[in-house]
Structures are given as structure tokens and as C-alpha cells.
């Protein structure tokens, strides 16, 4: 992976090898296509169509079901405006890690995607933005070289074209199967985020359940504005690792979005159905149009 011109953020039509098996991808997501679904949190049985109508949020207890990256883009980006970038980038087994090729293959099959992040440009209620959405269905959203590269290119494209960037995170952290090269993605993406920031541009992170490890310790926590979905687990070290280290049980809501809000690490917890409007509002408040108006007023 080298060079960093905006040309590298080539816009290509998605060329997913599983594209024509769309039925599989559509049928796979976390919510089975059955008539009734049991909420894993409140255990209430919900009519599947009610859940779909409610942005896949449990109407009884407000549990936000995990959703696939494509669905997230549909929910967030205005219809017909999304152009995907780097859809054909594929991970390779650079350090000959045992069974990594097999893991990649099954991740592609089960997610219907080529990697753990989808990137591109689109509009949110008319506001043009670069967007990256991570996918928990691809190796639990772990960050490999291609994940880091796509996110870095997204930042670089946003910087070169003076656009805001919105990143939805969901990740188990660094991808062990890529060893140190996965760790290097933390530095690489952080550097790209810094350049975007130094150019005076807006970066909004939306943390979703779960965001942990190397992603938390890099671009997830680097947004100018950090939002989260309700009840999302947000951590550097996951609860099990901490329990093993300190040998005691953790309090129930430890590392929840609400806990981080209380501790001062995120700006707001936003309901899924309100997210699109919130993002559009924040982008608009940072757009040049608004800023120019302010300047004009001052001149008068």
C-alpha cells in the first residue's frame, strides 16, 4: 500500500464476488427473517415487521440490534447518493498466519462483503460527506491492513476534497492474524485523521456495539464529535480481559455508552432513529455556507 493521492480512492462499482448471491447476504444478517423475534435483552417476543419498522430497535426495551454495514448505509445515506470506494480490495495472508485464508473466506461468505469496512461518499439529508461503516459480521469488525487502508484512503480523500467524514465503528480490535501489520494500522489511520483535523475539517465518530481494542485506541476516539448508540459496549480492554486481570466481576453497565458519557469520553448518546438527523445537523453547523454567513455578518 503506498502513495496517498486522492486518485487512490478510486471509485469503483462494487465488485463483490458474492454480489450475485445477494439472497444469501440479505438472509444472513443478525435478525432472522422469521415472523417473531425474541429480544435478547428483555426477552419479549416482537413481531419481525415491527422491529424492522423501528430501525431494528426493540420497541419494548430500546435494545439496538446489531445491523450490517449495508443496512447502516441505507439508514444513513440519502437514497441514490452513495458511491462506494475500494470495494474490490481484498486482504491477503501476509505473515502466513495459520488458517487466516480460511477465516477470510468464511468471513466473506457469511457477511457478503470483502472486508470489515465499507467506505465511500454520499449525502446525509443533502449534506455531502465521506463515510466509513465497519461491519461486525466480517471477523467481528477486526482491523486488518485493508481495513486500515480503506479508512486511511477515506480520510485522505476527505482531506483532499475538503469534506467531513463520518465513521461508524464496530470492532473487536486489531486483527491478530495480521500480527504487527494490524497494529501499524492504528498509527496509519491516526495519522490520516490528524491530517484531516489539521486541515480544519470535521470528523464525527459514531460508536456502535461493540467498539473495542485497537479501534477504540485509535480512530474511534479521535473524532471532533463522538456519538454513540445507546447501550453500546465501548472499551479498550473487553470486560472478560479485565475480569481475568483483576479477578473480580465488573458492575453491570461498566463500559456502556452511558457510562462513557458520564465519564466524559463521548459527546452524546443518540437513538438510532435520530442518528441521521443528528449527523446532518452537525455537518450543516460545520459547513462553509454557515461559516461564510457568520463572516459576512461580522463584516457588516
Amino acid at each position: 500500500m503506498n502513495n496517498l493521492t486522492k486518485n487512490l480512492f478510486n471509485f469503483l462499482q462494487p465488485k463483490n464476488e458474492l454480489e450475485n448471491q445477494g439472497e444469501f447476504a440479505e438472509n444472513h444478517p443478525y435478525i432472522p427473517e422469521e415472523l417473531w423475534i425474541k429480544c435478547p435483552v428483555c426477552k419479549n417476543v416482537i413481531l419481525s415487521s415491527d422491529l424492522m419498522d423501528n430501525h431494528k430497535v426493540c420497541p419494548k426495551c430500546n435494545y439496538h440490534f446489531r445491523i450490517a454495514a449495508r443496512q447502516r448505509i441505507e439508514m444513513t445515506i440519502d437514497e441514490g447518493t452513495f458511491i462506494e470506494a475500494d470495494a474490490d480490495m481484498n486482504s491477503t495472508n501476509k505473515i502466513d498466519f495459520p488458517d487466516y485464508d480460511k477465516k477470510l473466506k468464511s468471513a466473506k461468505l457469511s457477511s457478503g462483503e470483502n472486508e470489515s469496512v465499507i467506505t465511500g461518499v454520499g449525502e446525509i439529508l443533502g449534506e455531502k460527506t465521506v463515510i466509513a461503516v465497519m461491519n461486525s459480521q466480517f471477523m467481528m469488525g477486526s482491523m486488518g491492513t485493508v481495513t486500515g487502508e480503506k479508512i486511511t484512503r477515506a480520510f485522505e480523500y476527505a482531506t483532499a476534497n475538503r469534506l467531513p467524514i463520518v465513521i461508524f465503528t464496530v470492532s473487536g480490535g486489531a486483527r491478530m492474524q495480521e500480527g504487527i501489520l494490524s497494529l501499524m494500522q492504528m498509527a496509519k489511520t491516526s495519522g490520516a485523521a490528524k491530517r484531516h483535523s489539521d486541515a480544519g475539517l470535521l470528523y464525527i465518530t459514531v460508536l456502535t456495539d461493540p467498539t473495542t481494542g485497537g479501534v477504540t485506541a485509535s480512530f474511534a476516539m479521535e473524532g471532533d464529535i463522538i456519538l454513540s448508540e445507546p447501550h453500546a459496549l465501548i472499551a479498550f480492554a473487553g470486560p472478560r480481559v479485565i475480569e481475568q486481570t483483576i479477578r473480580q466481576k465488573l458492575p453491570k453497565d461498566f463500559q456502556s455508552a452511558e457510562f462513557l458519557l458520564d465519564k466524559g469520553f463521548i459527546d452524546a448518546v443518540v437513538q438510532r432513529e435520530d442518528m441521521k438527523a443528528a449527523l446532518a445537523k452537525l455537518i450543516r453547523l460545520h459547513s462553509t455556507a454557515v461559516n461564510e454567513e457568520v463572516e459576512t455578518d461580522e463584516c457588516v
Partner: protein, 256 residues
């Protein structure tokens, strides 16, 4: 030597730690500075100003401690967020006064505990990665023992990264890798091979610029040559225009 032999050597209790290198290289010129100005002074991170061949430098080290009592005080070299914030404060200070920064890295990883999470371990590391990338002064990081994942990287976003022959640098501990991969933390030796964590492997991958010959003990003459190498390197880096320096640093990491 197998990869696992390197792991064992990197963790050996009698291995020189950051304080040993700092004392031996900078002697009385080292003036320790404490605290992150926000919450506490994390003893897993030692930092201060020193003189290197007439050149003022900022020195920061992850410190494991040299006996049991000290190891407990220093949390075995596993820093809390305030440790990373102290390091960043000292780096920003170095930038202000145009001093190069030398980081000694030796940690099994950032601490995984309640307080660390409450005070934003992830945020603290993330901020270091971001800010170090554009620090307008030369940064040199040397892995002297264990380089445990994000907790090590938070002091290794540098213009050059060097490793002692027996140091290791990895995204996850071999034990952690073995328990995920084979549900058997005992298969540490196999996992060590898979992770490509030795200095030789990392040099081949382009992750480090130099492998440093291992001094038998801290009194070794090899430490003198290391000191000279550090001084020469930092003098060269200091002559580079800061804009160019941070461009080169960005591209150093951009290639992965």
C-alpha cells in the same frame, strides 16, 4: 534461537530496564519530571530532560521496575491513561523547546483495569498516536524488552524504531494468541512463531529500522555505542525541516 526463546529473553527479570539505560547513558544530567497535570503521576512511565553529547533531549521510558517492590509500584510497566498523558505532555514540551525525544519501550501492554477504562485508556493511546504523528521534533523509539501492542505503540510513533536483538513487539501476547487460536494458553511457543514478533521478523517486515546488538549487562561497552548511535541519529534528524520530518514520519507508517 526460537521465537519463544526471544519472548523469554525479552521478559527476563534481570534484563536492563529503562531506568538502567537512562542512568547509564545520561547519568546526573537526567532531571526527572512527574505527572500528567490532570490526574496523577504514573510510575510505569518515567520521563524527564537530559543531556546527550551536549544536546538537550527529552527521555521517556516505560519502566517495569527492577525488584519486586519497585515492580509493584510501577505496575510491572503497564501504564494507566495518565502514564500516556504524562508522556504526551513531555513530548509536547520537547516540541516547544526543540528537543529531540527518545522513548524506551518495555511493557507487556497498557493496563487492563477498572480505573484505566474509566479514565479513558483507549482515548489516551489514540491521542498519543495522533499527536506523535505531527510532533515537530525528532522522535526515536527503542524497544528494549517487551513491546506489548497499543500500550507500546503509544510511545513508538517515531521517525525511527529500533529493537534490541532479543526484544519483541507484537499485537497480542503469545499467550493471548494461543488461547484465542487453540483455546490453549499453553501453546505459547507455537503462537510466538505465528505472530512474527522477533526483531529479525519485524526488520524484514519494515516495521523497524535497526536491530541493536544486545548488551550482556548495562555496563557493557555496547551501551556506549548505542548512545553514540542515538546521538548521531538525532543530530541528523534535527537538521531536517520539521514539515519534511513529519511528512516522512507519516509516510513511514502510511506504507503498511
Amino acid at each position: 534461537m526460537s521465537a519463544y526463546d526471544h519472548v523469554t529473553a525479552a521478559r527476563a527479570n534481570d534484563r536492563p530496564t529503562s531506568i538502567d539505560y537512562i542512568t547509564r547513558m545520561f547519568g546526573d544530567s537526567f532531571f526527572e519530571l512527574h505527572g500528567d497535570r490532570r490526574f496523577a503521576d504514573d510510575k510505569a512511565v518515567i520521563g524527564g530532560i537530559a543531556e546527550l553529547e551536549g544536546m538537550p533531549v527529552t527521555v521517556i521510558g516505560l519502566e517495569k521496575g527492577r525488584d519486586l517492590k519497585e515492580r509493584m509500584q510501577r505496575n510491572f510497566g503497564s501504564a494507566h491513561p495518565e502514564g500516556y498523558r504524562k508522556a504526551l505532555r513531555l513530548m509536547k514540551q520537547a516540541e516547544k523547546f526543540h528537543r529531540p525525544v527518545i522513548c524506551f519501550v518495555d511493557t507487556s501492554g497498557a493496563y487492563c483495569g477498572i480505573g484505566a477504562e474509566e479514565r479513558g485508556q483507549g482515548q489516551a493511546i489514540a491521542e498519543n498516536l495522533m499527536e506523535m504523528m505531527t510532533l515537530r521534533t525528532p522522535v526515536l523509539s527503542i524497544l528494549i524488552g517487551e513491546g506489548g501492542s497499543g500500550g507500546a505503540l503509544a510511545l513508538a510513533v517515531a521517525d525511527e524504531v529500533w529493537m534490541l536483538e532479543n526484544a519483541i513487539y507484537s499485537v497480542i501476547s503469545p499467550e493471548g494468541c494461543a488461547s484465542i487460536l487453540w483455546k490453549d494458553p499453553g501453546k505459547t511457543a507455537e503462537a510466538s512463531e505465528c505472530l512474527k514478533l522477533t526483531a529479525q521478523d519485524l526488520f524484514k517486515l519494515g516495521v523497524i529500522e535497526r536491530i541493536i546488538r544486545e548488551p550482556k549487562d548495562i555496563e557493557s561497552k555496547l551501551v556506549d555505542s548505542l548512545k553514540k548511535l542515538i546521538a548521531d541519529t538525532l543530530r541528523k534528524k534535527s537538521a531536517i525541516d520539521p514539515d519534511k520530518l513529519i511528512d516522512m514520519r507519516y509516510n513511514r507508517f502510511r506504507k503498511f
